[in-house]
Structure formats: C-alpha cells, structure tokens
C-alpha cells in the first residue's frame, strides 16, 4: 500500500470486505446486468435477490409505485427456487471476484437452514443474508423478523446446521428492534443488516384503490433515510456484532452518515434501480471524502458519531 492510498477495508469479524459498499438484495439481481455499466468486482460485495426453497411466482401487479422521494414495492420474492437459482447462476458466480452474499428467505423457520445447507453443498459463496423481514410475505400477518424468538430459532438452526457466515437482515417494523437484534446476536449471527423497507401504502384518488396490487408494500429510497438511520442507531447501540447500514442511501454522504453512526458496511438499494452507477459512485465518493479530509482509513470515521 503506498502512502496516498486510503484503507477502505472493513472487518466484519469473520468476513473481510475490500470496501464498505454492498448492494442490497432485490435491487441488483445477481449483478450480471450491471456489468454493462461498470466492473461490479470493484464493490465490497453483492447481495443477491432473495431466494426461497420453492419457486415463488411473485405478487400480482402493480408491484411498484413512486411516492415522494421514494418507491413502494411489493414484488413478493419472485424467484425460481433455490435449486434452479444455483443451477442458473453457478457459472456466473464462479467469475465474481468480490464477496458473494446470498439472500435467503423461508416460508417456515426450518426452511432457512434447509436452503443454507443446500447452498453450502452446491455453491461457493461468502455469506448468507437471512431475510427475516420482507414486508411482502408473511405468515399470519407477521414477518419472522418482528418476533425475537422466531429470529433466534432461525439463526441458531442455520448456524448449527451449516456454520456459514450469517448476516441477519432486520425489520424496522417492530418496537422490539433492539430485542430482535440481540436475539440474532445471541443465536450466533455474525452480523446484522439494518434495515429492510418500511411497510407503506399509496392511495389513488381517481380509483380509490391502492397503487400496489398487493395493497401494501415496502417503502424504500431517500424518503426513508432519517427513519432507517434512527432504527439503525438503536440497533448498533444494542449489539456488539457488526451492523450493515441500509435505507435510503443515494450518495456517498448518505453512506458516510451510516458509517459515522457505526455501520461496518452499507448496502445500496433503490439507488441502483434509478442510477445504475450508484454503488460505484458511492464507493468513489467515500474514498474522495476520506482523501479530502486527510483520513487514511475508513476506521478513522467509523462509529465516531458524537451525539
């Protein structure tokens, strides 16, 4: 390393990233399509679209609508099922030269561990992100991520059965956020990601209907950043394990805000959808900020929030 270079590496206690920029699940596909715009291997890692054991058809349209500075989506985790996902992407994944994080969701608590075991057997990857917080698939009206005991059982089973590096992606939609985070931590989750989209609705005054086919969806984009950051702040203060910041990151400054609050890394979501260069621009912007302010490494700003 020469004197001018900035150390952007992030130690996620068991997984080392070359830089803090990851892509959020569902906004980056498997990364392939973004190769048209830039070499995705410059990023710290990619988090793939969530998979389930069996194929999911997805929710009825309209699945997406725009609200002021935000996007509501209710895709419903459309995916071909774990086996087919592995088969379709194995070759592409073997070419990826950055961290590969597979996002996993289950219809039952047990399904998470089953998918992780299948992934471990058939694919080379660096970590799983357990999506316990999708607002668009629920059992009995509640996502697993709203129940600390449920999250604890899911994480424990995955760790026990596979030993893979686990990131648990938390829901913002519970007054128990700290408790859920601590449950994941005590069950052996290596890191947390905070947080998922915020449940939302949008009403069309011409038709009196929701703009989303599934009536409600999850809000993302710049609109949610201050709320997501507050929840992130609560979570990062409640656990010892690394927490990845997600929610409304559009610029390097947004990402740095999370890092200053203590984020071990960040995930870029909706911004990838409307600016295909977003993740790379954010990475470049973080480096530029550090350089301009005479920092030598990301560690010098991480968690330095002074209240």
């Amino acid at each position: 390393m020469n004197d001018n270079s900035i150390d952007l590496t992030c130690d996620l206690f068991g997984m080392k990233l070359k830089n803090p920029v990851l892509t959020a699940s569902g906004t980056f596909g498997v990364g392939k399509d973004f190769q048209d715009f830039y070499d995705i291997n410059v990023l710290g890692g990619i988090v793939t679209k969530t998979i389930t054991m069996n194929k999911r058809d997805g929710n009825k349209p309209p699945r997406i609508c725009e609200t002021r500075s935000g996007i509501i989506n209710s895709i419903g985790i459309q995916n071909p099922g774990a086996e087919k996902f592995i088969k379709e992407n194995k070759e592409w994944f073997s070419q990826i030269k950055t961290k590969l994080i597979i996002s996993v969701s289950g219809n039952t608590e047990e399904e998470y561990a089953e998918i992780c075991a299948l992934l471990k057997e058939k694919l080379e990857f660096d970590a799983v992100e357990l999506n316990v917080s999708c607002p668009n698939i629920k059992k009995g009206g509640v996502s697993f991520g709203e129940d600390p005991d449920s999250v604890e059982r899911i994480v424990r089973q995955v760790k026990k059965r596979t030993g893979v590096y686990v990131i648990t992606k938390l829901s913002p939609w519970t007054h128990l956020v700290k408790k859920v985070a601590q449950s994941a931590e005590s069950a052996g989750s290596n890191a947390l990601a905070a947080t998922n989209t915020i449940p939302a609705i949008s009403v069309d005054v011409k038709t009196f209907k929701s703009r989303i086919g599934n009536v409600t969806g999850g809000l993302s984009g710049p609109a949610i950043k201050p709320v997501s950051q507050k929840i992130f702040y609560d979570i990062v203060s409640a656990v010892q394990i690394p927490v990845i910041g997600i929610g409304g990151i559009e610029t390097a400054e947004d990402a740095l805000e999370y890092i200053i609050l203590g984020a071990a890394a960040v995930e870029i979501g909706s911004a990838n959808m409307y600016n295909p260069f977003a993740s790379k621009e954010i990475l470049d912007g973080i480096e530029k900020y550090l350089k301009e302010n005479n920092y030598k490494s990301l560690i010098e700003v991480k968690g330095k929030f002074s209240g």
Binding site: T27, D36, K49, G58, P61, R68, N73, Q78, P276
Partner: protein, 259 residues
C-alpha cells in the same frame, strides 16, 4: 445498454400536451429494433424513478421520443430545452419481430400508442411490406402523423372516439372489417390495455398473429427489480409473470392473460 448524459436537440410541442423530444443517442438506427425503449432520469429529488419512453424514430444517431404530458414527470420533461443534457438509459427491452414471409401487415395505434409504431412502420416499409395503419385517437386534436405515415407509403385508416374525424369509434371498428380483405399476415399494436385486449380479440377471431407492446409502472428498466410484471396465460393454477422491461415490452398477444 448504456447510461449517460445526452444532448437534447429538440423538444417540440406538437399539440396540446403532446411533444416530440430529440436527443443525440449512443446508438444508431440500425442497432435499434422498433418497439424498444429508453428510460430518462428526471434528475428530481421527489421523482426518483426513471421514466420509460418508446422510441418513436431514429435518424442516424438522433432518437426521437413522442410523449404526452400526463403527470408531474412528463411536465418536467416538457420544460427541457434544446442544448440541455438529459440522463438516458438506452436501449432497453425486446422489440417487435419481423418475418421475411410476411407481406401484409396491420399496425394498430391507440392514442399515444403511436409512439413505437411510427418507427415500426418505417422499418416495415424499408422492407417493402404492405403496411396498413389503424390510427385511433379520442379526437382529431389528438391525432398525429397521419400525413407522415401516408408519405411513407402506408395506407392509413383513421378512427376517432368522438367522430371528429373519419370513422367514429375505436380502432377495432376500422381494423375488424379489413382483416379478411387485406389478408394480414400479422398485426402489431400499441395503446391502452383495454384497446390491446380488443385488438387481441379481433386477431384471435380472424386467426391472425398479433404482437402487442405493453406498459406497466417500471422500476429499473432492465430486469433486476421484477417490478413491471405482466400476467401470462397459463393452464396451471399458479400465475406466471413476465417483465415488461426485459421480456417485453412486445409480447405475443396470445401470451398475455387479459383477465
């Protein structure tokens, strides 16, 4: 697929709420298939999503987009001036298909649906096909490009919902009686969903192959967010969804579940 700042070389108002935007593209006429689209960033803090637009015409590297001012997004676009830059993601989607053996083709347009069909007609005429255009609009004031299409050598049948010009009724009133007479090998259509459904019905009845250009609210524009789902016909109990941005926007009309 490329995404960059492109220079506007015109944004002409063609009628109340109707505009023709022209910009310098990174793509050339030969590399674009009629029916494909582009997506424009409004560079707005409130409206984050890009707006997709059909490619209306391409002359060397100048892409034209015919659009109607309907919402806040298109209002912003209408204010853009010649010389300004716009961020364009191009070229997206799967366009119309072409077959050597086809001779006689119907091109059916409803309202702003003419947007991808002008370029289609131009391409078909360059292949020396017989092109019959069914140009439907609500009123005469919302009817565009009739003369240009005629100059191209297309036969044009105009229908208006209010009867302010030519046949009073929907495009199908013009199309249906011609199906047998003109011996169409294929129908291409673009317009509002109820119109496309009706055209698909006419095509089925006359046993003519039909391609439709569909529209849905779009997220990314290139198949990663799975937002712009359209329901596909299936015999299975589970629904099948395809993406307008990547699998389409052009679909075989028999593939679509019109509900």
């Amino acid at each position: 697929m490329k995404c960059s700042e492109r220079k506007i070389i015109g944004n002409e108002k063609l009628g109340k709420d109707y505009y023709l935007l022209k910009y310098e593209s990174q793509f050339s006429e030969k590399s674009i298939v009629p029916g494909q689209f582009i997506s424009i960033s409004l560079n707005s803090e409130a409206m984050v999503l890009r707006r997709p637009f059909s490619i209306f015409d391409v002359n060397s590297n100048v892409v034209s987009v015919f659009y109607k001012k309907v919402g806040k997004g298109t209002c912003i676009l209408a204010e853009k001036k010649k010389g300004e830059l716009i961020n364009v993601l191009e070229v997206l989607g799967k366009g119309f298909s072409f077959y050597d053996k086809d001779r006689s083709l119907a091109v059916v347009s409803g309202g702003i649906g003419v947007a991808p069909l002008y370029f289609l007609a131009k391409r078909l005429r360059s292949m020396e096909k017989d092109v019959f255009i069914y140009l439907g609009a609500r009123t005469e004031l919302e009817l565009f490009f009739e003369d240009d299409l005629k100059k191209m050598g297309c036969s044009v049948c105009v229908t208006t919902d209010d009867g302010s010009k030519n046949i009073c009724g929907t495009v199908c009133c013009g199309l249906e009686p011609d199906c047998e007479k003109n011996n169409f090998d294929r129908i291409y259509a673009c317009g509002p969903k109820p119109m496309l459904k009706a055209v698909a019905g006419v095509a089925d009845k006359a046993n003519i192959l039909c391609e439709v250009s569909m529209e849905e609210v779009m997220g990314c524009g290139f198949g990663v967010c799975l937002g712009c789902a359209v329901k596909i016909k299936t015999k299975e109990t589970n629904p099948i969804y395809k993406m307008v941005c990547k699998d389409g926007p052009v679909f075989d009309s028999q593939e679509i579940d019109w509900e």
